[in-house]
Amino acid sequence: MTVTFLILAALTIIGASAAMGLRNLIHCVLALTLGFVGLAMLYLELGAQFVGFTQILVYVGAVAILSVFAIMMTRSAGPHAEPALSASWIIGLVVAGATFAVLAWAILSSGITAPATEAPDVSVKQIGDALMHSYAVPLEIMGLLLTAALIGAVIIAMPQEKTP
């Protein structure tokens, strides 16, 4: 529990809570982006350079932009005047507490302690080798998924055919 870990964890949690609690939807997305950056820095603190930078590239550079575009295209007017707590907040609190209890029990009883040896210094070359040899099938499946998304995007933007 070093100081850097505490600061980064606080940053992530503040970002995520602000994403839930703020009124203006664009502010929520920006707070969520702060949470993503906090997660990326946690990866970097653990020494996973490739994953940390890919997190920034994908989440901050693509997912956040996608979210703001979606919000911008589908907003009708300004922020609605809603009460801060929804009507069924007691049930929500109970469900959230139950989920937290289950997750905490699962993590605490899993028997993971600090590793005995130092984490290996993984280079990007080793990640590339692993992706191409051991994990080639998951890579191809993700390629299929992305192709499906691309085809879906092209279909939505397809122009009207001239009816004869």
């Binding site: 920006l30 930078f53 590239l57 550079g61």
Partner: protein, 392 residues
């Protein structure tokens, strides 16, 4: 003083200064001493570039450019700086104050961070990351978020329009940018910028092994520079900030120093992507021919950077602006297929034996599709209102 000492003078100065720092403060002092020169030199280069650009554009348009402040107008940046610092900072009443304030900060932050992995000279890089090129592209993608924040928070139609155009342009051109850098990564097998420059700083028959001198490197370089021009919203891709169409696009509602910060961020981004192009394709700090290696490495880097700045200014003064649909068509219909072909090409180059046949095959694989693709783009287009089949 030997050539070796002049080449490593900044490294030696830093080592001498570090000898005077107590042990407890060594890491922080080392970081500050590495970062401070970048924070001083590149904004100074930005100031010089603004006046060079105005004079250069003026001369290309058969007029003088600024010539009042200082000899031949070269102290104009001082006047511009004083003006932007003393102007009133106007924030529109309906603007989102927090996001409005943070947008230029994020832009300048992202632009400065990108210099952390560029090797300016031999042994002169702020940090030699194992995934250096990936870091550069990750930081570059934060710029788009800053542009969107600027346009959205101003709550003005022109700002929002400019921001949406700018973000669409930047994310479209990010793909050819990264793909054209991937060929270099494939050829060298590493993401570290220092290792990429070291692989290019070897000489056969007196000529360096720059990747620019290979067919795939040359095409990759051209595609990278086109994508870099589009990424920094620079003419002829400056429709988002089109001065004659939507007045200044996403930074209309900014005044005073924040406006200057946007310019600073844009130009710093331009220098950073030029620096990455120099690192990936032009051999970083290495000399092109082996009998010129006595010139210090950082001088070579800045000479190459100045050539790039000149070409940027030249292109700005020469070509008309691209329309939005032409711009997007160029990205998706020309540059994306060309960069994918380039990746294929570098594979062929790697697997074929050395010799003249390799050159002929690789050049043919690139030139013929380029001619066919550009013919497709030059077809007459009927422009009409778009109606969508499934999205109405």
């Amino acid at each position: 003083m030997s050539a070796q000492t002049v080449d490593q003078i900044f490294v030696l100065i830093k080592a001498w200064l570090m000898g005077h720092v107590p042990i407890a403060f060594q890491p922080i002092a080392s970081a500050i001493l590495s970062v401070a020169p970048v924070l001083v030199v590149f904004p100074l280069l930005f100031a010089i570039t603004t006046v060079l650009e105005r004079k250069g554009l003026g001369r290309m348009q058969n007029r003088y450019g600024p010539n009042r402040v200082g000899p031949y107008g070269f102290l104009q940046p001082m006047a511009d700086g004083i003006k932007s610092l003393t102007k009133e900072d106007i924030i529109p009443r309906s603007a989102d104050a927090v996001v409005h304030f943070l947008a230029p900060l994020l832009l300048v932050l992202a632009s400065f961070l990108a210099y952390a992995v560029l090797p300016i000279g031999r042994n002169m890089v702020i940090t030699d990351l194992n995934a250096g090129v990936l870091f550069f592209f990750a930081i570059g993608s934060m710029v788009e978020l800053a542009v969107f924040m600027a346009g959205w928070s101003s709550r003005s139609k022109y700002s929002l329009l400019g921001a949406m155009r700018a973000v669409a342009q930047m994310i479209s051109y990010e793909i050819p940018l990264v793909l054209s850098a991937i060929v270099v990564i494939m050829a060298t097998g590493t993401l570290s910028t220092v290792a990429i420059v070291d692989k290019q700083a070897v000489y056969t028959h007196g000529v360096a092994h720059w990747f620019l001198f290979t067919p795939w490197g040359f095409v990759g370089f051209i595609l990278f520079m086109i994508a870099a021009t589009a990424e920094s919203n620079r003419s002829p891709f400056d429709l988002p900030e089109g001065e004659s169409e939507i007045i200044a696009g996403y930074y209309i509602e900014y005044s005073g120093f924040k406006f200057a910060l946007f310019f600073l961020g844009e130009y710093l981004g331009m220098f950073a992507t030029s620096g990455l192009a120099i690192t990936l394709f032009l051999g970083g700090w290495s000399a092109p021919v082996s009998f010129l290696t006595w010139i210090p490495s950082y001088i070579w880097f800045f000479l190459k950077l100045l050539v790039f700045i000149f070409v940027f200014i030249w292109v700005r003064g020469t070509f008309p602006r691209l329309r939005m649909d032409q711009l997007m068509g160029l990205a998706w219909k020309f540059m994306l297929p060309m960069t994918l072909l380039n990746v294929f090409d570098v594979g062929i180059w790697h697997l074929m034996p050395h010799g003249i046949l390799r050159w002929i095959v690789c050049t043919a694989v690139l030139i013929l599709p380029a001619m066919l693709l550009s013919r497709t783009l030059n077809r007459k287009q009927k422009l009409q209102t778009r109606t969508y089949r499934y999205a109405d």
